[in-house]
Symmetry: C2
Subunit: 143 residues, 2 copies
Amino acid sequence: MMTPELIVKTLKELDLKVTPQRVVILKTIADNKNHPTAEEIHKAVIKNQPNIAVGTVYNILETFVNNGIVEKISSKGDKMRYDLVSETHHHLVSKNSNLIQDYYDDELTGLIGRYLNKNTIPGFKVSGFKLNISGEFNKSGKN
Amino acid sequence: MMTPELIVKTLKELDLKVTPQRVVILKTIADNKNHPTAEEIHKAVIKNQPNIAVGTVYNILETFVNNGIVEKISSKGDKMRYDLVSETHHHLVSKNSNLIQDYYDDELTGLIGRYLNKNTIPGFKVSGFKLNISGEFNKSGKN
DNA sequence: GTCACTGCAAACCCTTTGCAACTCA
DNA sequence: TGAGTTGCAAAGGGTTTGCAGTGAC
């Protein structure tokens, strides 16, 4: 849950003009843990900004991606999905559906991070990592 | 490097008809370590099968994906790329280009695998994983 | 001979782009 | 005010689809 104040602060720090469209879109991504598609974002945003154009949604998302606060992810060649950039976390990817769930595990992150620090990869400078864990969600309760 | 015999064997085991188009496409993916796009595959295949249609390339790739011998990957929302499913390996993803390189590291794979075996994830049954390591390739020699 | 597969081209749909109108700073 | 942003609609481009012809078994 991201407060409007924090969103405005984030945008200002990036020298991005604070428009209602940007605020609503960023809030939508921040509050939606399900990695929405551009279409889903547009549908959600239209409730607050009835005249917002799909193209605008894409433009704003692209701006966020370029400024490093949002990242594009994709599952199985479907449309792109958008994820708030935050602390290192991983993804649980369903083999049966298009569901992608965040998976936070500091111990696992630390384990991998320490390994990559000790064992350098020739010709490659590591700046980050993300583990995609594929499998199946149990029927009862996806959370 | 995959022998034609092995390719034929692979297709037969999956009850897929052995057509020249399928053989050539599978061989192209197997021999190309650079995760080709459908377009790149089409260009490569046309040398052997001058009349192959782009749609056919997509159809065959989709068949391979559905049969679990090829997987789709994507970098930064570009066109999809195709990767032979083989032993667990990881990806080095360039932040500056669209390059995705395979990264084999049994020690790292074992480390993560053992961790996921010990520490089960509530509500999720793990069947595999892949680590995406982002960073930059050095100018001199990408290999 | 049969049924799955291929070739072809049009359709699809997600995403990008150009431009006039608008608005945040 | 004016540089940057939005709305709109059309264009773009990768991928999918329908169907007639072909080929693997």
